[in-house]
């Protein structure tokens, strides 16, 4: 992919790349760039480093804000053409630039993190220096934050690829420079991956590349610009789930061989000042309404799609009131496995309908999670998620059977 580039210092080689993907982040990129530069200077002073803003043709002055931020560090700006938006496309440009620069260490930080600090750069970069191939952060999270990870992405990826990576689609990473070869040669580069599916795509490829994976404790929550989770979900959800299903088809030989799961390396266990999570409110009434509305729209599709034990179970869940609402994890796992198989057999635009039809069921699963864990501490809720993952792993033989 050809990209637009401005490289005022004419940098042709670098040991380390700190990348900031953006789309119209003029208001936030300076802060992130400054914190990143401090982190590079403080912890990686012996390395030749460069900060790369990989942009999606922003029109709000992101590039000018990036270049005008005083850092004392070399900077490169690259951008997709106007007709090729998406975070995935931004990062693909980054991979090509990393290969060109022959960088050994790459750290990616999203631009809109309000509380990003220099030690985040260390925690994502140092495990790579010490031999890891791919680093995912472990942010401090409230039990109802990032439910897409807790209820779907983490248990599904864990049972498929056998690695316990708790926050695999978080948007910030560290990785070994030569991993870009695996990224750039991946057989999967779908519409979903080119947008918000890019994060699960990267983690999945790292797992399949068999590089040592590390989880790095950041010791803080990740505080973004305020977003309405319900407003973004109809766009985000199908892209993430689409990317996971697209990857399942490409890597079926791998995940067929995986049984149970293994933990990963941990970095940052000596972090002393651990901040508390930001309380997250969940509107259970809205979740329940959206779940029930799914039956109006998709009931016929669901009855045809799912295993004969799932159909009656869904009707039973439907009949439960909000007070007693419960969505068994085994049913949820079977739904995802059946859906993955149907998705693999379908073509677009049928696939788009399948992706969308899963959203109300996911919201029902989140509602169930909230009900089950409402009196639990964050640690107890984490144990609950771990048990859900075990159920997914125990149910995996069903996936192997339906996939045949």
């Amino acid at each position: 992919m050809a990209f637009y580039e401005e490289n005022p210092s004419s940098i042709t080689k670098a040991d380390m790349v700190l990348a900031i993907p953006t789309f119209n982040e003029a208001g936030t990129i300076s802060h992130t760039t400054m914190q990143a530069a401090k982190g590079l200077a403080e912890y990686f002073g012996n390395f030749e480093s460069v900060i790369v803003n990989c942009d999606s043709h922003s029109t709000d002055g992101t590039k000018d804000a990036f270049f005008s931020t005083p850092t004392g560090m070399a900077k490169i700006y690259i951008s997709t053409p106007p007709d090729r938006p998406g975070k995935g496309n931004n990062l693909r440009n980054l991979f090509e630039k990393v290969r060109e620069l022959e960088a050994r260490i790459v750290v990616v930080l999203e631009a809109d993190i309000r509380n990003v600090a220099p030690h985040w750069v260390r925690n994502l970069g140092e495990p790579i220096v010490k031999g890891s191939g791919y680093v995912c952060p472990l942010y401090v999270r409230h039990k109802y934050e990032a439910t897409l990870s807790s209820s779907l992405v983490y248990p599904l990826m864990r049972c498929l690829y056998g690695r316990r990576v708790r926050q695999p689609n978080v948007g910030d990473f560290g990785f070994r420079g030569d991993l870009v070869d695996a990224f750039l040669s991946s057989p999967v580069w779908t519409e979903s991956v080119q947008h918000f599916g890019i994060d699960v795509w990267m983690t999945t490829i790292a797992m399949n590349a068999r590089v040592p994976i590390c989880q790095s404790l950041i010791g803080a929550p990740k505080i973004h610009r305020m977003k309405d989770p319900y407003a973004h979900l109809p766009v985000l959800f199908p892209q993430v789930i689409g990317a996971i299903f697209d990857l399942m088809m490409a890597y079926e030989d791998y995940w067929h061989q995986v049984k149970w799961s293994k933990p990963t390396l941990l970095y940052g266990t000596d972090t002393h000042n651990v901040e508390t999570s930001v309380p997250t409110e969940v509107n259970v009434t809205l979740l329940h309404e959206l779940f029930l509305q799914g039956f109006d729209r998709y009931n016929d599709l669901w009855q045809n799609l799912y295993d004969q034990t799932v159909g009656p179970k869904l009707q039973e869940i439907r009949s439960l009131g909000l007070q007693h609402f419960s969505f068994p994890t085994q049913t949820w796992a079977r739904i995802l496995f059946d859906m993955a198989k149907s998705y693999a057999q379908a073509e677009e635009p049928k696939r788009a309908v399948l992706r969308d039809s899963l959203l109300p069921l996911y919201l029902g699963k989140v509602l169930s999670f909230v009900k089950k864990t409402e009196r639990m501490s964050i640690q107890q809720a984490e144990d609950y998620v771990e048990n859900e993952c075990t159920t997914f792993e125990e149910t995996k033989p069903y996936l192997l059977k339906v996939w045949e």
């Binding site: 061989q257 293994k262 933990p263 390396l265």
Partner: protein, 121 residues
């Protein structure tokens, strides 16, 4: 036959685990502390380690980090008298954890799963 290294500073626990796990068909070797544990693992190449968390001279969670750093994929089952250790994030680097008991059903189950875990090489 899978080889299991039991690391515990209490002799009666080492004896109990050895006898029961041998009966279950495993080869068992033991260590009474974390002293030179990594060298021992390097030399004896166990298939799995059962690691006590609270030993007099060693913290099992720190030893777990050392094991993970050097033997990335070696299965480790943490064994402890208390379950409060779960509040320490270091414990997530273990394959499993069990609370010490004279009934080793849970431990044997976890060992079997950990040894059965398969990732393509």
């Amino acid at each position: 036959m899978s080889k299991i290294l039991v690391v515990d500073d209490e002799e009666h626990i080492r004896l109990l685990y050895s006898e029961e796990l041998k009966e279950a068909g495993y080869e068992v070797i033991t260590a009474d502390s974390g002293l030179k544990l990594l060298e021992r693992i390097e030399a004896e190449k166990p298939d799995l380690v059962v690691l006590d968390i609270k030993m007099v001279d060693y913290n099992g969670l720190d030893l777990l980090q050392d094991i993970r750093n050097r033997f990335y994929d070696l299965p480790v089952v943490l064994s402890t008298a208390y379950d409060t250790f779960k509040e320490d994030t270091k414990s997530i680097a273990a394959d499993f954890y069990v609370v010490k008991s004279f009934d080793l059903t849970e431990l044997k189950k976890r060992i079997a799963v950990a040894l059965e875990t398969r990732l393509p090489s």
